[in-house]
């Protein structure tokens, strides 16, 4: 759409003076226009589809632009043409000048040649003359001389003539060149005139074309402006009309609105006036009430003021008191401080005192310690003495007891023989033979027991059997105990100190296990042989208790370990054992005291001893005795009752006699009913 336009312009311009160059120029400008148009379309596309009006404006402006472009092209062409026209003259003149120069050069060359030739010829002639001069000198006769002179003269004239001819030729040339110069000058003047003429022509034509173009451009602009103006005016009028219509409509609307609002205002005014009246009345009443309240408040205020005044006074007084108190307290504080200082000094002195006291107490302590040691010595000594005395006492008492036993037995015999009439058999009396306090064999310690049990192995089964009787009491087989101990030895190695293990390592197996067991027992808290057995028993029990659960396992290894605690359970079992049987520490403490050297006698057996002595008469016999005693007692009581009843009967008989007398007396006096009651009471009393 855009491309044809520049081409159209080209066509329009084509009927110009010079066709070819014009065509070219047109082409270039056309291309330029095309590029510009392309750019324009691109920008327009970028801007988006604008309104139709804008496009119109663009098209219209394009018309004027086209005009400007056209004129520009035209001008450029005209200028270049004019320039060419003008420079043509210069070029022509240049050409003429260069031609002239070549001519000049040629002429110069010719002249030079001519001159050279001339010079040569004249030189020859001159040489000839000079030669002839020598010849002339040779001539003797004046006639010859004259001839020679004449010929010389002729020759000289010839040379002169040649020279003169040359001069005249040169002068002619000079004249010709002068003429030429004048002609050149004239021609140049003409050329310059022509140049000026052409320039002026050019200027005038350029002026004319400029003016024309300007006119055209102005016309196009005017036209454009006019069209624009009319369009805008139309648009303006249209919009004005619309505006006025709109305004009219708005005004009408505004008027109607105004009326509505006036009505509304009137209504509101009335309503407001009513409201105002009611409000006014309400307010008046409220004002009155408030006035009353105000007065009350004023009264209250006055009252409060007075109260406050009074309180203020009181507070003032209190303040004064407080001031006095404060001063008192201050004084007190000062005093207290003095006291404090005193106390501090006292404290310091006391501290000193205490130190000295402490020192003395320490001395005392050392002294007392010494004393304590002495006392211990004494105690040991006394203990020995006491033991001696105890033995003596024991013997005395035993004798006494034995005597008593004898007596008892004797009485028993007597009772049996005399009272019951039975044959008396004396009971076994082992203690009768013995005398002196019971010598306890010391308890075997656990380790010893363990050692024994372990050593049995070596001794063989025979020995065991012989000793087996003594051990059956504990209810545990010796062999089993041994096994348990071995087990303990294996399982509880961790209780043994590592140092010990090292020391022990080189000993025999039995010795090793013995030492280990010793350590283990001390760790668990087992001391005596009994404990060992109780432990063994406990473990056996434990095994039996847990057997049900482990029967399957046990069945598989029925051989040796069948009746044996499983080594896995051992630790658990031992834990339980220690929890149950752990000895209280007090016992250990008592034993410790024995360590001091005071051998405490074990008097546990003593009681039994004495008991056995006391129980010479067995229980059955005692029961017999007691039954006998109760029977005899009953017999005795019956007897005594009989004796008492005898006395009583005597007394009652006596009283009866007395009462009969009394009754006799009373019957004679006033009361008759009461005395009847009296004798029944009297009778009941002795009961």
């Amino acid at each position: 759409m855009l491309q044809p336009e520049p081409f159209a312009g080209e066509e329009a311009d084509e009927p110009g003076p010079s066709v070819e160059s014009k065509n070219q120029a047109e082409r270039i400008t056309a291309r330029r226009l095309r590029i510009a148009a392309r750019n324009e379309t691109k920008t327009r596309q970028e801007l988006g589809e604008d309104s139709q009006g804008k496009e119109d404006i663009q098209e219209e402006t394009r018309k004027s632009q086209k005009e400007v472009e056209k004129s520009k092209r035209h001008m450029v062409k005209l200028q270049s043409d004019g320039l060419e026209l003008v420079t043509n003259i210069q070029v022509a003149v240049d050409a003429r000048e260069s031609d002239r120069r070549t001519e000049l050069e040629e002429a110069c060359r010719l002249r030079r040649d001519k001159l050279e030739n001339e010079a040569k010829s004249s030189q020859e002639k001159f040489e000839e003359i000079t030669r002839k001069w020598t010849d002339a000198k040779m001539k003797q006769t004046p006639l010859d001389l004259r001839d020679a002179m004449n010929s010389q003269q002729q020759l000289c004239e010839q040379i002169l003539g040649d020279k003169n001819k040359l001069i005249s030729e040169l002068q002619q040339e000079l004249k010709a060149s002068d003429d030429h110069y004048v002609k050149d000058l004239k021609r140049q003047a003409k050329d310059i005139d022509l140049l000026i003429e052409r320039m002026e022509e050019q200027i005038s034509s350029l002026k004319k074309s400029y003016r024309e173009d300007l006119q055209q451009i102005e016309n196009s602009f005017d036209e454009e402006r006019r069209t624009l103006l009319t369009k805008h005016r139309k648009k303006w009028g249209h919009q004005m009309k619309e505006q006025s219509e709109k305004e009219l409509r708005n005004m009408m609307q505004g008027l109607s609105l105004l009326e509505e609002h006036e009505d509304l205002l009137q209504k509101l005014r009335v309503w407001k006036a009513e409201e105002y009246n009611t409000d006014k009345i309400r307010m008046d009443t409220e004002v009155q009430n408030l006035r009353k309240k105000l007065q009350e408040v004023k009264f209250n205020c006055h009252l409060n003021e007075e109260k406050l005044d009074y309180k203020y006074e009181v507070l003032k007084k209190r303040e004064e008191e407080n001031a006095i108190l404060k001063s008192h307290l201050k004084r007190k504080i000062i005093r207290m401080q003095d006291v404090l200082n005193n106390l501090k000094s006292k404290c310091a002195s006391q501290e000193k005192q205490l130190k000295t006291e402490e020192q003395s107490l320490r001395n005392d302590y050392t002294r007392i310690k010494q004393q304590y040691i002495d006392m211990q010595k004494k105690a040991r000594h006394f203990a020995a003495l006491d033991a001696e005395r105890f033995e003596k006492l024991w013997l005395i008492n035993e004798d006494e007891v034995k005597a008593l036993a004898h007596r008892v037995l004797e009485t028993d015999r007597i009772i049996h023989e005399q009272q019951l009439g039975l044959a008396w058999v004396s009971p076994p009396l082992p203690f009768m033979e013995r005398s002196g306090p019971i010598e306890h064999k010391t308890l075997r310690t656990a380790s010893q027991a363990a050692a024994d049990t372990l050593q049995e192995e070596t001794r063989g089964d025979l020995v065991e059997e012989s000793e087996g009787l003594g051990d059956t009491a504990s209810g545990v087989n010796r062999r089993t105990v041994k096994r348990i101990l071995e087990l303990l030895c294996d399982e509880l190695g961790f209780l043994v100190e590592s140092k010990l293990l090292k020391l022990v390592s080189h000993l025999e197996k039995n010795d090793q296990s013995l030492i280990k067991l010793d350590a283990i027992f001390s760790a668990i808290g087992i001391e005596s042989e009994k404990d060992v057995y109780t432990m063994a028993e406990f473990l056996m029990n434990y095994r039996q208790h847990g057997r049900e659960q482990r029967e399957l396992m046990e069945e598989e290894e029925t051989t040796n370990n069948s009746d044996f605690i499983h080594h896995n359970d051992l630790l658990v079992a031992l834990k339980e054992f220690t929890a149950q049987y752990c000895r209280p520490h007090g016992v250990q403490a008592s034993q410790k005291s024995s360590v001091l050297g005071l051998i405490m006698r074990d008097d546990s057996e003593d009681a039994a001893h004495w008991e056995s002595i006391a129980n010479v008469i067995p229980e059955s016999k005692l029961r017999l005795w007691s039954a006998l005693d109760t029977a005899i007692n009953k017999y005795h009581t019956v007897l005594t009752e009989r004796a008492e009843l005898l006395v009583e009967t005597q007394n009652v008989q006596q009283q009866n006699t007395e009462l009969r007398q009394l009754l006799h007396l009373y019957t004679t006096s006033k009361a008759s009913a009461e005395p009847e009651m009296q004798p029944t009471r009297m009778r009941q009393f002795p009961m």
Partner: protein
């Protein structure tokens, strides 16, 4: 007079009264019915007029407010001495009046639109042009220098007068004698010495000199157009001292090889020279060699040696310089005699050169071989835009070869081959080439 004064006084009182009391206003009718308050000049204008009147004795200008300053400047006479006005007044309108009062024709556009610059430049030119050595005191020039040194950028000296002291004697003598005497008494024929001037002008950028007399008419004498060796020496030294010079032109001054060498030797390594113009002189091969040397020891952009007598060897020297040059944009060798020898050398230089834009070889006696060389150069070269080969006898074949060369070239815009004996076809193609745009590769040759 007294009457008018009195009336003026009353008139001046009247408005004050009226302003003081409107009710008591009393109309005082002036004696002169045509008199009115507008006719009374204001005191300020009177003062300003006084200032203008006595500006010569007491120049007051910068102290005035802008409004009054403009008033004063509008009315200052142009006859004021330059010593007062030169450095005081910078207003263009005043200088415009000065210029217009002094010269009939004045085109301010060639002076950067500065009337003041124009005035001073032309003033100085005038002084130099009418300076007669030995007769005129050098003070006349030196007095002006401090006034105009800040404004002069260009000096176009269109004539330099010779000393007139001995001229009467020469008039009596024979012409041939005169010619011989001028040679012997050369030193006495010296012109104005530029040394005293050029180093005092700090802004000078352009200098045009013609050692000759303008419009001598029938008083023509050869010695009026003599450029002596001493003149040349002075000029060369003056040019050397002027470091701001950018353009130097010397026309129609009979500069021969010797003087050219002298001038060039002083211009070597000049810091700012950009244009050199030796038009219409007598430089031949030696001078051309010197100029060739100068080409690569300066920042020359334009070189004009038209209408000289440079022949083949000189052109070869120039071509050699051109092949190494990187600054020159324009070279004008119009109306020389470089011939085919020089033309071929220049064509070969064009192959190497990458800066030259304009080349004028018009009227140089070149023929077909040069055309062949140039067409080859055009194929290689891509900077040359304008080539002028007018007035050379290139012949029909040369034109064809050249046409072919141009068809491979993309930069050439204009090629002038008028009056070169080429055929009509080539002429036609020349016209095509003339308007060929360098950015339009589709254009046909």
């Amino acid at each position: 007079m007294s009457r008018s004064q009195s009336s003026r006084r009353t008139g001046s009182m009247r408005p004050v009264n009226a302003a003081a009391d409107g009710r008591k206003m009393r109309s005082i009718i002036a004696e002169d019915s045509e008199w009115s308050l507008e006719l009374v000049p204001l005191l300020t204008t009177l003062c300003l007029q006084h200032i203008i009147k006595h500006f010569r004795e007491k120049p007051i200008l910068d102290e005035l407010t802008p409004k009054y300053k403009a008033y004063v400047l509008q009315r200052l006479p142009t006859s004021l001495p330059l010593t007062i006005t030169a450095n005081l007044i910078s207003d263009e309108s005043y200088w415009k009046r000065c210029c217009e009062g002094r010269w009939a024709v004045s085109d301010v556009s060639t002076y950067d639109n500065s009337w003041k610059r124009m005035f001073f430049e032309r003033h100085l030119e005038n002084i130099i042009e009418f300076f007669i050595p030995d007769a005129t005191d050098t003070k006349t020039v030196l007095d002006v220098v401090p006034l105009c040194r800040n404004y002069v950028k260009r000096l176009k000296v269109s004539q330099l007068l010779p000393p007139i002291r001995e001229s009467p004697r020469f008039d009596e003598d024979d012409r041939s004698d005169c010619a011989s005497d001028t040679g012997s008494e050369g030193p006495s024929m010296d012109h104005f010495d530029f040394r005293i001037l050029l180093d005092k002008l700090p802004n000078l950028e352009e200098l045009n000199v013609v050692y000759g007399v303008k419009g001598c008419g029938m008083n023509f004498e050869w010695n009026l157009f003599e450029f002596t060796f001493r003149d040349c020496e002075f000029l060369a030294k003056a040019l050397h001292s002027c470091k701001t010079l950018q353009v130097f032109r010397i026309h129609r001054s009979k500069v021969d090889d010797e003087k050219c060498c002298l001038l060039v030797s002083q211009l070597l390594d000049h810091p700012s020279l950009q244009e050199l113009d030796f038009s219409h002189n007598h430089i031949s091969d030696r001078g051309a060699r010197a100029i060739g040397k100068l080409l690569n020891r300066s920042q020359l952009k334009r070189l004009v040696v038209c209408n000289n007598q440079i022949r083949g060897p000189g052109a070869q020297a120039l071509a050699h310089a051109l092949s190494k040059n990187i600054t020159l944009l324009s070279l004008n060798l119009r109306l020389n005699r470089i011939g085919d020898e020089g033309g071929q050398a220049l064509a070969q230089a064009l192959v190497k050169n990458k800066t030259l834009v304009n080349l004028h070889l018009g009227g140089n006696n070149m023929t077909e071989p040069t055309a062949v060389a140039l067409s080859q150069a055009l194929v290689e070269n891509c900077t040359l835009k304008n080539l002028n080969l007018s007035n050379n006898k290139l012949g029909v074949d040369g034109g064809k070869v050249l046409e072919e060369g141009m068809s491979h070239n993309s930069s050439l815009v204009e090629c002038d081959i008028r009056l070169t004996d080429v055929s009509q076809d080539s002429e036609y193609s020349r016209q095509h080439a003339k308007i060929k745009h360098k950015h339009d590769p589709s254009a046909k040759v």
